[in-house]
Symmetry: C2
Subunit: 204 residues, 2 copies
């Protein structure tokens, strides 16, 4: 199967790029659907699943008390269970058909399936503009608040990857292609990347 | 004019990619020619010019003696003169026709000409293999020596860029596209990047 994973900075347009690439190439597209499926399997609320998968791993880290250390086990174990479901689901998807998967650490989890791993990024100004265009509720955030929000989300993504892999989130060494969308037209850049992906799979 | 700059890690295949992109798109290609032209203008040996442009800027850094500081001026001034010729030449080329320029800090020097800046990189194993294939004299280097050589050359490139810009050499933020050639077929990847570049200039 041809698998494309898109990792992205918040506000860089990575999700839209992923959707457009999937449409252009006729691939399946997975993003939020994965959270919905995990939530369904565990009978949990989607937002809870998302938050646990993004932040829950802090509970798995050993906490030192004097000379002993322990784990805050309930939340930590739950996060691990959800992650384990996520891994299983991603592998099922990867075996089903050609697909584009946005986020969800698919670049790490599906390593053995030889995906084309793309990282999408942009400068802070472009990301703030894109956030404001796409989510009118963010218009009310002060510049400093929006900036902090963007940094916080990316910092969570980086932390999550640290839990799964030695490869640092966003370090170009972990991806085949890194694309800067600052000032770029997302529609145009998506069709160029789709061409790139097509060539990549044809020629490998 | 459409200008493509290729910055690259030593041994990553960036030079070959640059040449192939230029051939595919019918663009001019500049790399070593720039050194030759600078050497000609100053009536210097090419190797001397290359070495001065790569290492000579250490002489321009202020050296502190007690509470005063001074410059080792002869070599430092010469390096600046050569760099100034390099800037002039690059700008002349950028105004002449569509081109691909490999190295020579063209991504920084030609910033005002809105080039498409590409960074080519690979993991150490791929770079060492490529070095051995392309330069049989390097077969005699021990693994640790070749590794050290590759790191040293890249470290000089990074140092040189620090002299010219706040942007850190190799940091993805300074490029439009970063391409990992580890295990990739250079010929295939070049034609894909050429397509990307074509799309980029058509759609911008």
């Amino acid at each position: 199967m041809n698998i494309i994973t898109i990792s992205r900075e918040f506000g860089s347009g990575g999700r839209e790029i992923g959707k457009r690439i999937a449409d252009t190439l006729g691939y399946s597209y997975y993003d939020r659907e994965i959270i919905t499926a995990i939530a369904g399997k565990h009978n949990f609320d989607e937002n809870y699943v998302e938050s646990m998968l993004e932040n829950g791993f802090s509970f798995c880290m050993p906490i030192t008390y004097g000379r002993t250390f322990s784990y805050t086990d309930v939340s930590g174990q739950q996060a691990i269970q959800l992650l384990s479901t996520q891994c299983r689901l991603l592998k099922e998807l990867a075996e089903k058909d050609n697909c584009v998967i946005v986020g969800r650490s698919a670049n790490i989890i599906l390593e053995d399936y030889n995906p084309l791993n793309i990282f999408v990024y942009a400068d802070m100004e472009s990301k703030m503009n894109r956030c404001r265009e796409r989510a009118p509720e963010e218009e009310n955030l002060r510049e400093s608040e929006l900036r902090r929000k963007i940094k916080q989300i990316d910092s969570n993504r980086a932390k999550h990857q640290r839990f799964l892999s030695d490869k640092k989130w966003g370090d170009k060494e972990g991806y085949h292609l890194c694309v800067n969308t600052s000032g770029a037209d997302i529609k145009a850049i998506s069709s160029i990347i789709a061409e790139y992906a097509k060539g990549y799979f044809e020629k490998r």
